[in-house]
């Protein structure tokens, strides 16, 4: 069975600070990896995804994530956060054999202006 672990449950940063949210997964085969974001009062939406190729993927709003296969990690980064990045962030994994997307517990990010 696949599982996802997000180590930081709550993160508070000031504007312009750098962000890194940790994500580790457990799965024995090839995976597709995702970061979803839920802004206050809005739907969950896709931030970025990795299927294959360049392990450094870039998403919307200046976010990027790096897939490190040896560490089973897919950490999310942003060099300089903005107040509008305040949201809950979810890492997710899908094994290539199925249709199930497994989510981590989520990280609530608060950016102080």
């Amino acid at each position: 069975a696949q599982s996802v672990s997000q180590h930081n449950h709550h993160v508070i940063l000031s504007e312009a600070a750098s962000l890194e949210l940790g994500c580790n997964y457990s799965y024995g085969g090839t995976v597709n990896l995702f970061w979803y974001v839920q802004y206050p009062g809005q739907h969950l939406q896709l931030l970025l995804k990795y299927f294959s190729g360049d392990p450094l993927v870039k998403g919307i709003k200046g976010f990027e994530a790096e897939f490190i296969k040896s560490k089973f990690s897919f950490n999310l980064r942003k060099p300089s956060v903005q107040w509008s990045d305040t949201a809950e962030y979810f890492c997710a994994v899908m094994g290539n054999a199925g249709n199930m997307l497994t989510f981590g517990g989520g990280t609530r990010l608060m950016v102080k202006p």
Partner: protein, 114 residues
């Protein structure tokens, strides 16, 4: 374009009462459909998924059931609600097959069981 709708948006029900949450998708055919529950501090928990009409897979044994009576309709039900069923329920769809894996979520239904 594809859209997904779920209702009701908010529901307050007494313990022991039945539940029916409905989700419909428009603009696509034969989607994979999902029910997730989002509980505070516990992230998103997959409850059920369906790859076709009448095909339901349950991920977590519980007090809930799901049905897919039509290609683009997914229903979450309970005969008798428990306090622990309170939470935020999300319906989602994805392209049929292993595909891209990207899920598109509905607006969510907040259930409070008293």
């Amino acid at each position: 374009s594809q859209t997904i709708h779920q209702w009701p948006a908010t529901l307050v029900q007494p313990v022991g009462s039945p539940l029916s949450l409905e989700c419909t998708v428009e603009g696509t055919s034969n989607p994979n459909l999902y029910w997730y529950r989002q509980a505070a501090g516990r992230g998103l928990q997959l409850l059920f998924y369906s790859v076709g009409i009448g095909q339901i897979s349950s991920e977590v044994p519980q007090n809930l059931s799901a049905s897919r009576p039509q290609d683009r309709q997914f229903i979450l039900s309970s005969k008798k609600l428990l306090l622990s069923d309170s939470g935020f329920y999300l319906c989602a769809w994805s392209v049929w097959g292993a595909g891209t894996g990207e899920l598109f979520f509905g607006e969510g239904s907040r259930l409070t069981v008293l």
